[in-house]
């Protein structure tokens, strides 16, 4: 009889990303960054930092430049001025895949999954950068590429277990409801074992229950994997509960930066959200 030996709980705690930065030290530093599209100044002279292990929220009214800021961090936009320091390395120009290989993952405001592929394959795709066997090996059903795939599959299964999406493992993501697609996207971002995870409105368009689930997953990712998270979110209740520190943008400028309670009390922030006669 073929009896598989039980494998015990996977040691999720051991997967805390080792990127050479001490917890609490600066992981990412944005200094005097400005970005403009023609005459539109999307970001003006913004500086802030993200510390290792924290949840950092970027908030602001519509058009404040939040997503642009994320795209700058991600390497998708190149700022005209200013420097970005990630894991101690200063960078000016880079491509998004370089950001990915340095340990930055992200999710998108509008879900950007491969809709025809299953949940499993989508998350597997997130491990692309960690697969090393070349095309030749991948042609064969057995051998090193196969072993490599098994290893990666285990990691992906841990993520599936973590996000409680076992029931949709083989479902094409195009058929999934929006809330679950968001979760799959988070899974794909996690698959890259990022040291910095960027979440662009992870809770947009969700109902209360889905929001609560997502909040719990974000907190768990932060605690369990020690992943540093920078997120954009509109739901103030969520931001105040989740974030360790908050930076507030308005019309491309930074108007506040600090703990949620400080930011909440700031007159400038209240004005930005409620509007004042200019």
């Amino acid at each position: 009889m073929n009896v598989v030996t039980p494998q015990g709980e996977a040691s999720l705690g051991a997967r805390i990303v080792d990127d050479g930065i001490e917890p609490g030290a600066e992981l990412l530093k944005v200094e005097n960054v400005s970005l403009s599209f023609g005459g539109v100044k999307a970001i003006q002279d913004i500086s802030f930092d993200v510390k290792k292990g924290e949840i950092r929220a970027i908030i602001g009214p519509n058009g404040a430049g939040k997503t642009s800021m994320l795209n700058v961090i991600n390497g998708f936009y190149h700022p005209q001025e200013g420097t970005i320091t990630f894991r101690g390395n200063v960078r000016t120009k880079m491509r998004p895949y370089m950001a990915a290989s340095q340990g930055i993952s992200r999710t998108f405001q509008n879900v950007a999954l491969f809709t025809g592929m299953s949940t499993l394959d989508n998350i597997m795709a997130g491990r692309q950068l960690k697969m090393h066997k070349n095309f030749f090996w991948q042609m064969w059903r057995y051998g090193p590429a196969f072993n490599e795939e098994v290893e990666h599959r285990l990691e992906v299964e841990k993520i599936i277990d973590f996000l409680e999406i076992q029931s949709i493992r083989k479902t094409p993501v195009g058929q999934l409801p929006y809330g679950l697609q968001k979760r799959v996207e988070l899974g794909r971002a996690l698959a890259a074992e990022p040291s910095l995870l960027l979440l662009d409105e992870p809770m947009a368009g969700m109902n209360l229950e889905e929001k609560e689930d997502m909040s719990r997953f974000i907190l768990d990712v932060n605690q369990q994997f020690g992943t540093t998270i920078a997120l954009i979110e509109h739901d103030m209740g969520v931001v105040m509960d989740l974030a360790d520190r908050v930076v507030v943008l308005d019309y491309g400028k930074k108007i506040a930066d600090g703990f949620p309670s400080e930011v909440q009390a700031s007159q400038e922030v209240i004005d930005a959200y409620l509007g004042v006669p200019h």
Partner: protein, 659 residues
């Protein structure tokens, strides 16, 4: 280490003794499987013995003393099943609690049972327990199975099962397990084995006390009734706190030595069942209904050829399938066609449902629709009915092979005596009869007579073949003001046999006519709406759609037509009905945790709607308070349409239909 001590007298009497016995008998046979990380992980009986022994000794290191009660909260996972045995080995009593009960419900049970340790599945359940805080005065330790999200919690009173097992392993490495084995052997068959709280359609839950003798005898009888041995595999997916799961997935497994498989998550249970293909399968009628509905819905979307093949061979199966299963004589040509059908349709269908290897399947808890019952039997599946209660350690009656019908619940199980009281109530006496309700002598006296007979609370009679038939809950059977008998369950079941109708509640006791609330089935009606280009945004909107009302009216009138042909029930045809704007839900107290309708509660909650059914109005505006899954409350409001339905003359139903 001397792990397999001889059991005294050779015959085990308790489950921990059976564990040690099985580790010796079936050491290398699988005892339990669990799908985790996408793979079925297995434990043999001797591996399981290791796990449970370490766990048990760890618990005693934490200070669990003999006689104390341990609550188990969660879904079907090996760790939680091990808890039963680990706790029993120490002379303690496990008390499984429904995992989906809200905090307030749980507080009552945990305090009533004087719980000192809680074993919870995951963070969600741990949070629920911790949120009760000081209300649980006797609670000392909380133990969890799944560590996710719990890393940063204060671990002075909180432990993972793994940590507890490590404590135990350290002790075993130092002192061995002799003391533990002695403790296990000391237990007697009259000791209290488990306390199961009945969800109760009325009042507070009651703790049913079952001894080892009750469970071991019932399980032994059941195993021999259906010839179960160590080769069976079953899938454990029903609530741990329900007596059925406790007997099928724990007691019977320990006695026969068969393998219990835990699904990956409740949502994947269907998929996992397909992979395991259990040889013994139990499900309440609802599960069979849902399975059939989903098949029929998918066949609607299938290609023309497939649809034709399905319709043709299903018609053939309806004609001869059940007769072949019952071993009656069937013509050669029909048999041949049935074989082809098996290859083309029945086989793939059974595979789809994960019932390919099913030797015996049972359904119980509610009446099953004759159509549904026949569907499964015509595929060659040996589906049977049984009738049981928590108070009886499940088994009261069961259908023997070859004596199956949709409207009886079978003959008395081995060792069970049955009597019908003068009031029409079914009473029984058996070795499985419970010890009493915990700390509730009054209720015990009401239910159990001095000489061991138990009131079931169900009205029924024994038919000419010696089979028991259940009509309804004895207290629910009433009279219409015209004098006719009114058995609500009977009418509701008739309605529920339509796939479009998920739940129905009938009213009529002391009234002029019978009227019903209907709950539509979102899967079936939603699919129908999609195919007919009916757009809807919510359950509420779909439920109130005029086309839905039209369909429901057809269903109601069909039921009336059927009722008109029955002497006893012709008077209780449905004159008016409405479709409820929300699904009846256990969180709102409308259903019990085992999904039975709580009639009196619903009558109170929707009093306005019932009045509207009887005062002739066409619609009614209502606001209903609902409880969300996390325990918060909200209000939904709706204007509900009330519709009339035609009733039929008892004498000439055909004539009316022809006009």
């Amino acid at each position: 280490m001397s792990s397999n001590s001889a059991v005294k007298g050779g015959v085990p009497e308790t489950f921990p003794q059976y564990l040690n016995y099985n580790a010796k008998r079936f050491g290398n046979r699988p005892a339990m499987r669990h799908k985790d990380f996408g793979i079925w992980q297995s434990w043999t009986w001797s591996q399981m013995q290791d796990e449970i022994r370490a766990y048990s000794i760890g618990l005693s290191e934490l200070g669990l003393k003999p006689g104390e009660k341990v609550a188990i909260v969660g879904q079907n996972r090996p760790g939680l099943y091990w808890t039963f045995c680990a706790v029993q080995a120490l002379g303690c009593v496990p008390v499984p609690v429904y995992a989906d009960s809200v905090a307030e419900e749980m507080v009552y049970v945990l305090n009533h049972a004087e719980i000192t340790f809680v074993v919870a599945q995951d963070q969600e359940q741990v949070d629920k327990i911790l949120s009760m805080g000081d209300k649980l005065t006797m609670l000392r330790h909380v133990i969890y199975d799944e560590p996710r999200g719990l890393r940063d919690y204060d671990h002075t009173k909180l432990h993972s099962i793994k940590q507890v097992q490590q404590l135990g392993r350290d002790v075993i490495a130092k002192d061995g397990d002799v003391e533990w084995l002695k403790l296990v052997d000391r237990a007697k068959s009259d000791d209290l084995a488990v306390m199961l709280y009945t969800s109760g359609t009325t009042g507070k839950p009651k703790g049913v006390m079952l001894s080892y003798h009750n469970l071991v005898e019932s399980a032994r009888n059941a195993n021999s009734f259906d010839n179960f041995d160590e080769h069976e595999e079953i899938i454990a997916y029903l609530p741990l706190a329900w007596v059925g799961d406790h007997v099928f997935s724990y007691a019977q497994s320990y006695l026969a030595g068969y393998c219990v498989c835990c699904p990956e998550s409740p949502e994947t249970a269907d998929e996992d069942r397909r992979e395991i293909a259990p040889s013994y399968f139990f499900a309440p009628p609802r599960v069979f209904e849902v399975m059939l509905t989903s098949i029929l819905v998918r066949m609607e979307d299938a290609g023309k050829l497939k649809k034709k093949m399905f319709d043709y061979y299903m018609a053939h199966a309806r004609k001869v399938g059940e007769r072949i299963l019952n071993g009656e004589s069937v013509g050669l040509w029909d048999r041949l066609q049935y074989r082809i059908g098996e290859f083309l349709v029945y086989g793939p269908l059974k595979n789809r449902m994960g019932l390919t290897r099913m030797k015996v399947g049972y359904t119980a808890g509610e009446a099953i629709g004759p159509e549904i019952f026949r569907f499964y039997r015509s595929l060659g599946l040996n589906l049977k009915q049984l009738y049981g209660q928590t108070e009886a350690s499940v088994y009261i009656t069961a259908q023997p092979d070859g004596e199956i019908s949709a409207d009886t619940v079978g003959k008395p199980s081995p060792g069970v005596e049955i009597e019908i009281a003068e009031s029409g109530e079914v009473m029984y006496r058996s070795p499985g009869v419970f010890q009493g309700y915990y700390k509730n002598d009054e209720a015990t006296k009401e239910t159990k007579t001095k000489d061991g007979w138990v009131h079931t609370g169900d009205a029924g009679f024994i038919d000419t073949d010696g089979h028991l038939r259940i009509i309804d809950r004895a207290k629910d059977v009433g009279k219409l003001s015209g004098g006719g008998m009114f058995a609500p369950k009977y009418i509701e079941n008739r309605l529920k046999f339509f796939p479009n109708i998920k739940e129905a509640v009938a009213f009529g006791d002391g009234r002029d006519f019978c009227a019903v609330f209907i709950n539509i089935d979102l899967t079936a009606v939603g699919n129908w709406a999609e195919r007919n280009n009916i757009s809807y945004a919510s359950y509420q909107e779909l439920a109130q759609h005029p086309e839905v009302y039209k369909t429901m009216k057809e269903h109601v009138e069909q039921v009336n037509r059927d009722l008109a042909t029955e002497d006893m029930m012709a008077g209780s045809q449905i004159s008016r009905f409405l479709v409820l704007h929300k699904e009846l839900d256990a969180d709102d107290g409308e259903l019990t945790r085992t999904q039975k309708v709580r009639r009196s509660f619903i009558a109170e909650r929707y009093g306005e709607l019932i009045e509207a059914l009887y005062d002739g109005s066409d619609e009614k505006y209502v606001e209903t308070e609902v409880v969300f899954e996390d325990g918060r409350k909200g209000v939904i409001s709706a204007t509900i349409v009330i519709s009339d339905a035609s009733t039929f003359d008892q004498a000439q139903p055909m004539k009316e239909a022809a006009e």
